[in-house]
Symmetry: C2
Subunit: 219 residues, 2 copies
Amino acid sequence: MTYPRTDRTTSLREPAKLRYDADEAHRILDEAYVCHIGYTAGDGLPRVLPTVHARVGETLYVHGSTGSRAMLGARDEGVDVCVTVTLLDGLILSRSWFHHSANYRCVIAHGKARLVGDPDEKLTALAAIVDSFAEGRSTSSRPPSARELAQTAVLALPLTEVSVKTRTGGPKEEPEDIGLPYWAGVVPLVLTPQEPVEDDHVTVPAPAHVASAGRPVQS
Amino acid sequence: MTYPRTDRTTSLREPAKLRYDADEAHRILDEAYVCHIGYTAGDGLPRVLPTVHARVGETLYVHGSTGSRAMLGARDEGVDVCVTVTLLDGLILSRSWFHHSANYRCVIAHGKARLVGDPDEKLTALAAIVDSFAEGRSTSSRPPSARELAQTAVLALPLTEVSVKTRTGGPKEEPEDIGLPYWAGVVPLVLTPQEPVEDDHVTVPAPAHVASAGRPVQS
């Protein structure tokens, strides 16, 4: 499936660098632990907040707080958001300042997010968010009480206006720079899980999902 | 130094979790390679873009593209932005879904960004951005030509409305959950540089800054 190009998901400057493949967008959204959600606050000024998210089919669920100003606005008619997910894959050290860059995979999703009201949908969304930390985690931890569920806000953004932009490979260089006496290359970066730190009073061995936490799911 | 609290840098729900210490904000801004800049586009809707940045004193320089819609707006009277920098430090696996969380360090800076016009200031900003990849890199690569400089857009955001939010430590648990037969703890995450991949035709050994690229500066 391919997302349609819209005004918001095309670029004035480098239209060829944007892609619209849903599978590719899904993989990036699913690998990332954190997204940045942008909206225009009541004062007319922009806000960008980091939060956690999970995708269920073509819906992106974004975790919020019931006190946040964005969520209050979403209760009635929804809130216009831009959700951006960026995976940083490397630093490009070019022979010229101009061609310094980064390798990355980025998804930008636009649309009107609604506050999830239905308790069943909210449970589904929260299970997906918990499982995005570590596959299967939702069945190895306690589901929310009615009170906890009421205290949790979840926004649902339909994935309809979505673009993907990535950069891979080595430095781009001007032909006349190749002979310059400067080192050039890529420093790859990988978000790497460290040894899990067990909480006090744990009475069970770490299940397999703990070892998988922080590692991209192999698809 | 402490940033003043303003409407935009206080929280309705958890005001005690926000801090305003400039040194702490600087360390987070300086460690991060990527920021997310949010603004309201001409259509009145929010945009969030990832880009690279560097701090020089109390100015945050954000790399842009001369064709981007945000930059065009900043040319005359500046553009209202929210720049958010998030370092993800770990996944919190709690005994309850509700207390799943992340360890992180986040800086949010609000204000009116101006497009940097002065060539000297632009050079200073770009050197700082190149050096943010690897300390000293700007003196080991070619500065921009006049044409390259004109093709590069840099936004300057004065650091005046800035908040810091962090989470550290292990899972928070409800007292009645402590005895549940679920594993709980933290999976720390570290952005880790891999072996540098040298470009073709490099004629010099990798300088020390290449080994430091991708590693937080020890302060």
